[in-house]
C-alpha cells in the first residue's frame, strides 16, 4: 500500500515536471511577449506542483531521498509520467493542445483527489486545482482561437490533434498503483471527454475520425517514447556530472 502511494505520488509529480520541462523551452521564444510570460507562469505552476509532490514522495520513501534525488537520479524506466506530457513542443498549436488535453485531465483528477483519504495528497490537490483551473481556461481559449482563427491555424491545430490523440487513452487506463489505491482513472473519462468534445466543437474541430484510434500506452509503468531519454539527459546533466553537490 505504501509502495502504491509512493508510485502514485511519483506518477503525479513526474507528469508535472516533464510537462513543465517541456513548456519551459518556450521561455524567451514565445510568439509574442505577453504569451511568453503566460506560458512561463504555467511552467512555474507545474514545476512547483512537482516539487511539493516529490517532497511528499521523498518522505514516503524515507532514507536520504529528496525532491532532487527523485527528479534527477531516477532513470528512464523509473519515470512514470504519461506519454502525452513528453510529446515534443512542436508548434504553438501542438503545445497548446497538449496543455489543454492534459489540464482538462488534471482538473478532473485533482478534483477527485481533493476528496482523497490521504490528507497530504488532498491538500496538494486543493492547492494545485486553482492553478490547473486557470491552465484549463487559458489553454481552452487558445484552442478556440486557433481552431476558429485562420485557415492555417485550423490546419495546424487539426494536425496537432492527430499527433496527440493516440496518447490520451493511457490517462484513463489504471496502472497497478492507481487500482491498488482505489483511484481508477476510468471514472474521470466521461467528464474529460465531454469537456474536450464541447471545446473542440466550438473550435470547429471534430473527434469523429478518432473513434477507433489505437492508443499508445506504457508511460505510467515506465515504458516511454524515445523522447524521454533526451529530456532526462538535459534535466539530469548537472547532477550526473557533479554528483553529490549542493547547488
Amino acid at each position: 500500500m505504501q509502495q502504491a502511494l509512493l508510485d502514485y505520488t511519483l506518477y503525479l509529480s513526474d507528469n508535472s515536471l516533464i510537462l513543465g520541462q517541456r513548456n519551459a523551452a518556450w521561455c524567451g521564444h514565445g510568439p509574442v511577449l505577453e504569451q511568453d510570460i503566460a506560458i512561463t507562469n504555467i511552467t512555474l505552476d507545474l514545476i512547483g506542483q512537482s516539487r511539493i509532490l516529490y517532497q511528499y514522495a521523498a518522505q514516503l520513501k524515507g532514507g536520504d531521498a529528496t525532491e532532487d534525488s527523485l527528479a534527477f537520479l531516477r532513470s528512464e524506466r523509473e519515470y512514470k509520467n504519461c506519454l502525452l506530457v513528453e510529446r515534443p513542443n512542436g508548434d504553438w498549436a501542438q503545445t497548446i493542445l497538449r496543455q489543454f488535453l492534459f489540464s482538462c485531465f488534471q482538473r478532473e483528477l485533482y478534483t477527485q483527489l481533493t476528496k482523497e483519504k490521504d490528507s497530504t495528497l488532498a491538500a496538494i490537490a486543493t492547492k494545485a486545482l486553482r492553478e490547473v483551473s486557470y491552465h484549463y481556461r487559458w489553454s481552452r481559449e487558445w484552442v478556440l482561437r486557433l481552431g476558429d482563427g485562420t485557415a492555417e491555424s485550423h490546419t495546424r491545430l487539426a494536425s496537432a490533434l492527430e499527433n496527440l490523440w493516440p496518447y490520451t487513452g493511457e490517462l484513463f487506463k489504471g496502472a497497478d498503483y492507481e487500482l491498488a489505491l482505489g483511484l481508477d482513472p476510468a471514472m474521470l473519462y466521461t467528464n474529460w471527454l465531454s469537456a474536450v468534445q464541447s471545446t473542440l466543437k466550438e473550435a470547429t474541430l471534430s473527434l469523429a475520425s478518432f473513434a477507433s484510434c489505437f492508443m499508445q500506452t506504457g508511460g505510467k509503468t515506465g515504458i516511454h517514447t524515445e523522447e524521454l531519454g533526451f529530456i532526462l539527459t538535459d534535466l539530469q546533466y548537472m547532477q550526473r556530472t557533479y554528483p553529490g553537490c549542493d547547488w
Binding site: V32, E34, Q35, I37, A38, N41, E141, R145
Partner: protein
C-alpha cells in the same frame, strides 16, 4: 536645433548607420490592440493605472494583465480598456482646466481658524 548626443551609455549605443532617429517608415501595424491596465491592489482601494499591454481581445487582455502585472500578488481585481477608447485632457489646456482651482483656498479645512476648545470638526 542643438547637437545630438554622441556620448554613449549602457543601452544607448547608436543605431546602425549612425542614425539617431527611430524608423520613420511607419507601416500599418499588425500588433494586437493596446490596452491600459488598472489594478486594485487590495479590497477597499481604488483601481490604479499600472501600465499597458497588447492583447487580441478583452478576455486575453485580462489574462495577460494577470500574468504580467500580478506575478507578485499585486492585485485582487483588474480592469482593462482599449487604449484608443481613452480620452485624455490636453496638456496645453492645463492652465484653464486646473489653475482656476488654485485660489479657492476656502475649499480646504485649514482655511478656517477655530478656537482650540472646539474639537473634532
Amino acid at each position: 536645433m542643438q547637437r545630438l548626443i554622441k556620448k554613449l551609455y549602457y543601452g544607448d549605443i547608436p543605431d546602425a548607420g549612425g542614425g539617431t532617429a527611430p524608423s520613420n517608415d511607419q507601416q500599418p501595424t499588425t500588433d494586437w490592440p493596446l490596452w491600459e491596465v488598472f489594478i486594485r491592489s487590495k479590497q477597499g482601494l481604488d483601481h490604479k493605472h499600472v501600465g499597458s499591454l497588447h492583447a487580441s481581445d478583452a478576455q486575453m487582455a485580462i489574462e495577460n494583465a494577470r500574468d504580467v502585472y500580478t506575478r507578485r500578488q499585486e492585485g485582487v481585481s483588474i480592469w482593462v480598456v482599449e487604449s484608443k477608447r481613452l480620452t485624455a485632457s490636453n496638456p496645453a489646456e492645463a492652465g484653464e482646466l486646473f489653475e482656476p482651482a488654485a485660489d479657492k483656498v476656502y475649499r480646504h479645512p485649514t482655511f478656517y481658524n477655530l478656537p482650540d476648545q472646539v474639537n473634532y470638526i
